[in-house]
Amino acid sequence: MATGNITSAIDSLSAAIHCNIIPQHEYLLQGSILDSQVEHLLHRLKGLCDNVDAGPEPFHDHEVCFSLRAPNQATPTLLLRVRKANDVDAPYQLRYIGQQEVGDRTRPTLVRNSLDIACTSTVVEYLQELGCRIDFEYTNRGYMFRKGRMKITVSKIFKMGGIPTKPGETYTEAISQSYLVELSVLAPTGQDGIGKDMMMFAEQLKPLVQLEKIDYKRLGNIP
């Protein structure tokens, strides 16, 4: 007979928080590259990254940004993103992104709180009924690379052209003449060493693309 003393999910979760194994910090560097030059960058990444045996891994995501506002307050209390893969059959991704941490200035990358949660397709309706407002939405198409625990995406962002009449039939137009390049790592608390690794990697992509830590506050208050 099993003598299992079953622990509640909350208990095991707090134990996990205690052991620092939950990846809830995102380290991020961003940059951009012109459409005409993106081939060079893809070539460079093919040489540097791990998952290139079968060519670069394409992705095509639809992302909707929600915000939950506390009553009578201008600033949103919670920013949420729902991401859905258009090309493969995968669970929806619900993503929470927190404020960026005001660490010391010498920190090489942007650090912010982040939670990635896979969930069922009811999530959009769920969030809307919960009281969240859709801020904006877009589709994101490009390639994903992996190097160790670093994730590199090279993607183009498209506007949603009105409400699509049928699912899968979306009219979209590009938002700019360049590709967004992101270098990110999800890690548990207290692993700041990864920032240095990311800087080293970013160095190798120069001068094609300049990956930098972007200060969102300076860009103005974008929700």
């Binding site: 007979m1 099993a2 299992g4 003393n5 079953i6 509640s8 999910a9 909350i10 979760l13 928080i17 939950i22 809830q24 939950l68 506390a70 009553p71 009578n72 209390t77 919670l78 619900l94 929470y96 939670l115 990635d116 949660i117 896979a118 969930c119 069922t120 009811t122 999530v123 309706e125 769920y126 009924e129 919960l130 009281g131």
Partner: protein
Amino acid sequence: MGVTILQPFPNLENKTGPSIIDFLSKRVIALGAQQVGHFLVDCETYTSVPQMSVQPKVVHVLHNSEHPASVFSILETGTKQIALVADLLFDLLILKMTPAYTSKKQTKIESKGPRFELGDFVIKLGIVSMSQTFKGVMVEVEYRPCLIPSMCWDLIREFMQGFMGSHVTNIIPPYFTTPSMMAPNQNKQNDIYQPIDTVQQYLEHFSNYRKLSNPPIMGMRN
């Protein structure tokens, strides 16, 4: 994963929870079942702060030890129910919603007890308790090979009546005669059974138990 039927076991003779569990366990073991571990289903409820909307919205967050990597959440808006299944990290996200949704700690309710296996059946005998107060006993029977409730209800009913006697009704629980969430034009009993269906049955019974709760008992505990 198969069809699961949840059945409250009435507490007629005012016995304690463990003694009812003991009584049922003996019967189940006499049928040839073997105990395989324990199980736990818990439910926490959050309500929206009054300023958020006119009608209060209720978020139930449930965990089921049968699906240890998932969190089940059901949002009740008053007019409809929306179910969401997500990763465990969803618990952390709920905590971040505190400005808009607050939890009443004393409404946390759970069902906990031994888990038995007998051939393709799984039997779970759970003591329902709300913040340490005994509320009743619930029996969960799962028949794993089948996915369509209407096809195996008779089998499960017969099996349940075998050890619970006439407390089990002959008609399928009302939960299964409501229209299905995935396909609105057919009943749940003819649809493919999902883990969320188990959780929704639990929620239904938990809500019933909560309504039964009379304040003096709660006061006694505090």
